[in-house]
Symmetry: C2
Subunit: 302 residues, 2 copies
């Protein structure tokens, strides 16, 4: 599971950052959060295959978060995509996707399935579920948590040997949660497998003021990717426009007890993220200012 920051700037692009988009590389598919203008070109500079994107989650309908959709869809189509593409977002998303698909002389060679999501809903696919929470922005906005299904516990090799289970196919059966039989005696998986382990969890906030709903959504996440438009000397400006400062993002990370905080959506006024990262680290040590095209592999905690 790898996070690829495609665009880490907010409002409009700068020389240094494109507008918002984050890709999450999963086995066999890519999930994307937001898709600002120019995202398809950022994908070309990255290690992510744009043809493998299966689902795009839009946080809200401000241009810097969704204007990359029509160009990306068009390029997927020109490159022969046939698999449907799912797009989700808050109220208004499906109408907007429809409007974008009708611009100019465009016909997609594959199906685009756009759906409006409510807050506090859950959506399952492959080995994942995505949950939504209301973000606190100036227009209807959703934060998303992607959670991996729990993994089986650890296989206790010593115990297995002590029980006289021969190495080989029986080990796999037990790891798959099935019982085996040895000399007429049934051995349940629980005899050799430790407790089920949590899957990985990534939370993407989109644009938001600090929010209790997001603290709850992000509880225990491995990675929190949080709005960090300004530093705390501009706290009231951030609040007026429905954004967070670095300090506020870090407080959310701390309250939610996440493993790692990535700051994104910097105002174009910042040429680099040093000041913002420093501010966040003062509150929550595992904070990092994300950079365009930076990658981060999310490892299992145990």
């Amino acid at each position: 599971m790898k996070i690829v920051f495609l665009g880490t700037g907010g409002t409009y692009p700068s020389k240094f950052r494109n507008v918002t988009s984050v890709a999450l590389q999963l086995p066999g598919e890519v999930v994307m959060f937001d898709c600002g203008e120019g995202t398809q070109r950022q994908l070309m500079y990255s290690s992510v295959s744009f043809m493998k994107i299966s689902r795009i989650f839009i946080s809200h309908l401000h241009a810097d978060h969704f204007l990359g959709l029509p160009g990306l869809i068009q390029s997927m189509s020109l490159n022969g995509r046939e698999e449907p593409l799912n797009i989700y977002g808050p109220k208004g998303t499906s109408d907007n996707v429809r409007a974008m698909m009708n611009l100019g002389y465009f016909k997609s060679g594959f199906e685009v399935l756009a759906n409006d999501l409510d807050e506090d809903v859950e959506l399952g696919f492959s080995a994942y579920r995505v949950r939504t929470a209301r973000a606190d922005h100036t227009v209807p906005s959703l934060a998303y948590a992607l959670e991996e299904s729990p993994r089986p516990g650890k296989f206790d090799l010593k115990k297995a040997k002590r029980l006289g289970i021969p190495e080989g196919p029986m080990y796999r059966k037990l790891q798959e949660g099935k019982a085996v039989e040895i000399r007429g005696k049934k051995i349940e998986p629980g005899a050799v497998m430790g407790p089920t382990r949590q899957g990985r969890k990534i939370v993407y906030t989109g644009d938001t003021k600090p929010s209790k709903a997001i603290v709850k959504l992000a509880e225990g996440a491995d990675v929190l990717i949080h709005d960090c438009t300004l530093d705390s000397t501009h706290a009231s400006l951030a609040s007026d426009f429905g954004h967070s400062t670095a300090e506020e993002a870090a407080k959310v990370a701390k309250a939610a007890g996440v493993g790692m905080l990535f700051l994104v959506h910097f105002s174009p006024r910042y040429e680099n993220g040093e000041l913002l990262e420093k501010e966040a680290r003062g509150v929550f040590k595992n904070s990092k200012a994300a950079e365009d095209l930076a990658e981060f592999t999310v490892r299992y905690r145990d």
Copy 2:
């Protein structure tokens, strides 16, 4: 008068080229031809101020030629633009601009005036006129010629002295086309001014097969910027999709007797323009494969 190539790729962007856009820097304003996705960011890397764009001419409504409009308009608005912006294009353009202005939660702080243009029409502004011609593409498409107003002829200093006109304000008056009086004798400007000289002329084709209408439009142009999607080994493919090869573009340049040919809209299959430039130069020596962010100053011929 300076041409700035913002995007020289066709169909979809590549690592090496963004999709189509050409800016023309005029005294006090910028005119733009086409505006593919990501053009606003290309502008940031260039010497062109995106706030000075007064008019955008769209060749046709394929996404690689217009999807950069909503983001650009939005960023102009966020940066406090108040002057209206004029957008022109073939049939359907004003509907499309309206649809783009209604995406998401967007309100422009300035007026966007979009107009559909017919072929063979003329439009005047400042010291320029823009004429349209039908391009030969798969959807309604326009080629544009921007022509500068004629300049006054050269001032003949020797003649002026021979006529006893004193240096100073009278010289300027004559250069401005006004008569002066010396010792009761009226001297008309024609007595010291040479014949009116042609203004500069730039032609931008958009996507097109070789076209007689474009040869006519481009007659005697200083610069012709022509579709060059493929090399001549793919001539039938180019024709099927309403495009030109390098050789075809060069033949148009030769037939129109232009000063200089710039090739643009390369298929993403070409990592550089060497092959295409070489092919064009075989037919028309003053051919050049344009590169993203390249600039070219258009000087007066006399």
